[in-house]
């Protein structure tokens, strides 16, 4: 999935920001294999015609069965800069002169399918980056707290308690609202990551601490101490191997939370801002009922989110079972 996210340009027919004039809010284009006479021509799409419904001012799109645009695979299509560096124009598929919107297009005539893939880059990485940030904070502080105990422990634990006492989403909203609107995309990206991490490290810190406290009681740590091993040595040689799997499991479980957080913020318009795209910003267009009712394909990014989070949860669950040596037979 991350591979898709990093190479999305290759897989999508259009650039995420390309506005296709005259193709505003089109429904998903059906891909046909047989033409209107029933002859097999391979995958193709019809050209689109639209007319304006004068009562509601909605555009009604109909397929023009006269024009057939074959879907071409491994073609040279709309040019782009791969990773912002290399000029390329390789695309997995497009429809030549025709338009292929697998999941429809939005109110500016942008291809939703291309945008979902493009958005995955930000949505998925923000989960990763955010988790590593909060993992760093959580593991370090939790580790210090659990290993040294005493006053440091109390202080850190109090901080986590206080932070976790504030309702998470309102605080995120409040923090995200501070981020200036005129910041460039990358800076916003990191600001949002930091905001998300400020709240999520506490859980990890507590988990790490609890685990460490439990492990510290084991006799083999006592044995190492008696043998004269230093603190750092004990941490790296004896404690780390024991809880590394535990950490990995926790990280996997924390990622979806991050992705959801980003989605929520962007959805409210407080997170990643256009022209950058994330799943949340894509869903912003689906905020009101009339939009959803008329253009239900705008909801498809939600499915991407749900699928991703499900995947992470399953993997996390599987890892947890695999990492638990005391699991029942």
């Amino acid at each position: 999935m991350y591979f898709l996210a990093f190479t999305y340009e290759l897989w999508t027919p259009y650039r995420a920001v390309t506005q296709h004039q005259g193709f505003v809010n089109t429904p998903p284009t059906p891909v046909h294999f047989f033409d209107s006479q029933g002859n097999f021509v391979g995958p193709f799409v019809y050209g689109l015609k639209y007319e304006l419904n004068l009562d509601t001012f909605e555009r009604i799109y109909t397929e023009d069965v006269e024009t057939i645009h074959r879907i071409r695979f491994f073609t040279r299509g709309e040019p782009y800069r791969f990773w912002g560096r290399i000029d390329m124009d390789w695309r997995l598929f497009d429809a030549g002169e025709g338009k292929v919107f697998l999941l429809g297009s939005d109110h500016l005539g942008r291809d939703v399918f291309s945008r979902i893939l493009a958005a995955s880059r930000i949505s998925l990485t923000i989960g990763l980056v955010g988790v590593f940030l909060s993992f760093f904070l959580g593991a370090t502080l939790g580790g210090i707290s659990g290993f040294y105990g005493g006053a440091v422990d109390i202080l850190i634990m109090r901080v986590t308690e206080i932070l976790s006492a504030i309702p998470q989403i309102p605080l995120w909203i409040a923090l995200a609202a501070i981020v200036p609107i005129d910041w460039p995309v990358t800076r916003t990206y990191f600001a949002i990551t930091i905001i998300l991490s400020t709240m999520t490290w506490t859980g990890l810190a507590r988990a790490v601490r609890a685990k460490l406290l439990e492990m510290r009681e084991h006799d083999y740590i006592m044995a190492a101490k008696i043998a004269g091993a230093g603190d750092l040595r004990i941490i790296y040689e004896h404690l780390l191997p024991g809880y590394i799997s535990f950490l990995i499991v926790n990280i996997t479980i924390a990622i979806p939370g991050m992705i959801l957080g980003e989605t929520a913020l962007s959805f409210l318009g407080l997170g990643i801002r256009p022209p950058a795209v994330s799943w949340g910003t894509l869903l912003e267009g689906a905020q009101n009922i009339s939009n959803i009712a008329l253009y239900p394909w705008l909801l498809t990014p939600a499915l991407a989110v749900i699928a991703t989070v499900l995947l992470f949860n399953f993997v996390g669950d599987g890892l947890r079972d695999a990492a638990d040596p005391f699991k029942e037979l």
């Binding site: 308690e161 206080i162 976790s164 006492a165 504030i166 309702p167 998470q168 989403i169 309102p170 605080l171 909203i173 409040a174 923090l175 609202a177 501070i178 979806p256 959801l260 989605t263 929520a264 959805f267 409210l268 869903l283 689906a286 905020q287 009922i289 959803i292 009712a293 239900p296 909801l299 939600a302 989110v305 749900i306 989070v309 499900l310 949860n313 399953f314």
Partner: protein
């Protein structure tokens, strides 16, 4: 008596936590936005008024903004504690705006909490007792999807489904025109009619989580020796199940009131924005967007207070429920 002492300790601690939170809230909401005077000045300049330095300074003095930050915080906090939360940019006292919405917030939270448990506990018991049965797998799957679906997305999807299927618009808590009317049976019914969709939405994720907790802990408890002891006494499985393992497995569930309540309050926020519910969430959102600082700070504070109360309630319930904790706390 000693339990009362424990309670008092908890309350004092909670109070201290709230003080720290209030400081954070002040820092987050108040400081970065410039002060109220800047905004007034900006607004009036936009209208073409000319404001002199002296006028600005006078305004500053009037709002107490010429003082150092900690003094400003102190003034804000003491005013807040007295119930004086300042004025919204909408021209109304903040406390009035909040009062209008706090009832709906609490109503939603409490009903959601009850619904969560009412659904999750029986299903959790069923899943644990019939481990690896098709029913168990079904609920596990439902649980996973429930956990994976952010509730605001669920709200969107339900909005869509209901619109398509019934042509219903399901936003808000009342039908148009109902809100202003005095309380009557019709109004209460109307409220119920609108309430259940937000409740479904808010409850889904928490229910899924609680089912999993309930199932896991009950499975643990079912393997305990005391279950065998009880069987050896000749108890019926059903009697035994509810008297012993279920009772013990409910421990973490009872305690979860402490964190589920804050999560409900938190999770409501976005749902309420999507579904246009008259709770605190949308008000916070709009106040932040419009830089309505005093309103935003107060809402954040109120939400935190509700959350902290939730945590305390969770602790109290657990210690009433579990004699081990009751005794331990009583002893210290």
């Amino acid at each position: 008596m000693s339990f009362g002492k424990y309670l008092l300790q908890r309350l004092i601690y909670a109070f201290l936590v709230l003080i720290v939170i209030s400081f954070l809230v002040f820092m987050i909401v108040q400081l970065p936005r410039g002060d109220a005077v800047d905004r007034i000045v900006n607004a009036r300049q936009a209208q073409g008024d000319i404001i002199t330095e002296e006028e600005e300074a006078a305004l500053r003095a009037q709002y107490g903004l010429d003082k150092p930050i900690y003094v400003q915080y102190f003034i804000w906090a003491t005013q807040f504690a007295r119930g004086n939360m300042g004025h919204s940019l909408l021209g109304l006292p903040v406390i009035k705006l909040i009062n209008e919405r706090i009832a709906a917030t609490l109503l939603l939270s409490v009903i959601s909490l009850i619904v969560t448990y009412a659904i999750a506990v029986p299903i959790g018991i069923y899943s644990a007792v019939n481990q690896y049965s098709p029913g168990d797998y079904f609920w596990t799957l439902v649980g996973f999807i429930g956990l994976a679906t952010p509730n605001f997305l669920l709200a969107l999807i339900l909005l869509f489904v209901f619109h398509k299927a019934f042509g219903l618009s399901i936003g808000g808590l009342y039908s148009p025109g109902m809100e202003e009317q005095p309380w009557s049976i019709a109004k209460a019914l109307d409220l119920l009619n609108h309430l259940w969709i937000p409740i479904i939405v808010i409850v889904t994720a928490q229910t899924a989580g609680t089912i999993r907790t309930m199932r896991a802990t009950l499975l643990d408890e079912l393997g305990q020796q005391y279950v065998v002891t009880a069987r050896a006494k000749g108890l019926r499985y059903r009697q035994l199940l509810f008297k012993y393992p279920v009772r013990l497995a409910l421990n973490p569930v009872v305690n979860s009131i402490g964190y589920i309540l804050p999560r409900l309050i938190s999770g409501q926020t976005i749902v309420a924005i999507v579904l246009n519910l008259p709770t605190l969430g949308p008000l916070l959102f709009s106040s932040l967007l419009s830089e309505d600082v005093e309103l935003a700070a107060s809402i954040l504070m109120i939400q935190s207070i509700l959350a902290v109360i939730g945590v305390i309630l969770g602790d109290i319930f657990l210690s009433l429920y579990d004699p081990r904790i009751r005794m331990e706390k009583g002893a210290t």
